[in-house]
Symmetry: C2
Subunit: 190 residues, 2 copies
């Protein structure tokens, strides 16, 4: 499935992604030049063009990757088995924690305004497929519910960032809290 990447490719893409996110924390994508991006990443400009067509393309790829990861995590998510579920939540939290800066940047002023929407879409699809399976819900309720949950999640992430919450210190407790909330939320529907 996932073809084995040459170390060089892996490294080049990694630093380019990191550099773009760093620059995005300072200015809007349209004000970022390929030149400064490559200088920051310490990568030859010609190399950049063998991977991406421009800044926008790179940003696209970054977000696609996140989307894939989120889907990956959410696809194996289930609230049936308690312990397994907790572990999944924990992993998801660690994933986010490791990319705190990235999320912060992409969700803030200079970031992509469509990014939050994309996250919302992913979560919405997940909720429809898993949580709300079997439930007979009006479409209005469904939309409202997913919007509510995702907004909450984004809000939580932003709060973590603002108050510099160290998720890693207690991912377990955090995971329990979140799962409990999710379950109670579900039971409230019945």
């Amino acid at each position: 499935m996932s073809k084995k990447l040459d170390r060089r490719k892996k490294y080049t893409r990694k630093v380019l992604k990191e550099s773009l996110v760093t620059l995005l924390s300072q200015k809007t994508i349209s004000k970022i030049t390929v030149k400064e991006l490559c200088e920051m990443a310490d990568v030859n400009r010609s190399t950049f063009y063998t991977h991406y067509s421009d800044q926008y393309d790179l940003l696209e790829k970054i977000e696609e990757e996140i989307a894939e990861d989120m889907n990956q995590y959410l696809s194996s998510y289930s609230f049936n088995v308690e312990e397994e579920s907790l572990q999944m939540t924990e992993k998801l939290l660690e994933y986010i924690k490791d990319r705190q800066f990235m999320f912060q940047t992409l969700l803030n002023e200079n970031g992509d305004p469509t990014f939050e929407v994309r996250l919302r879409t992913i979560a919405q699809r997940f909720m429809i497929n898993n949580w709300l399976e079997g439930q007979q819900l009006k479409e209005v309720d469904m939309t409202y519910l997913s919007t509510f949950v995702v907004s909450g999640a984004v809000h939580v992430i932003k709060e973590w960032i603002e108050y510099d919450v160290d998720v890693k210190q207690s991912p377990k407790e955090m995971a329990e809290l979140i799962n409990k909330f999710a379950n109670e939320g579900l039971s409230c529907l019945e």
Copy 2:
């Protein structure tokens, strides 16, 4: 003088050096294999051998580089002009701060026992060339003095590490303190 290095070479050597120092914080040089070193650095083993012959060679190069840097800093050191001197001390402190982990590792149990000696030699040569210029000192005094100063410096570095002193927060005050001490020490000799 300093030949222009290909970015790739620069990167390869950088990660290999970082990885070795990291490993040295865990075990002795003789227990470190080239294989695990390359795995940590994410560099092909064959690439390693195009740069260094073995772990010991790499460690050698790391220490040589530090020695060069220290010489560089110390060579442009003078206590004649007050402000300039302070700036030099400040830069030197920042240099050490940026490599705190490296110094810590090289000076500790797993590190190279000869490293402290090398530092001592450098400082000794410096003191003879600069500070003690013109002073009529017995060789015994000279050796004792340099040993005293370097031991002090190493001790200070180790204390910074242990008590996690943030040198960067006040390199200026720190620099003033050190220069003042150095000057008083010198005047004590007269």
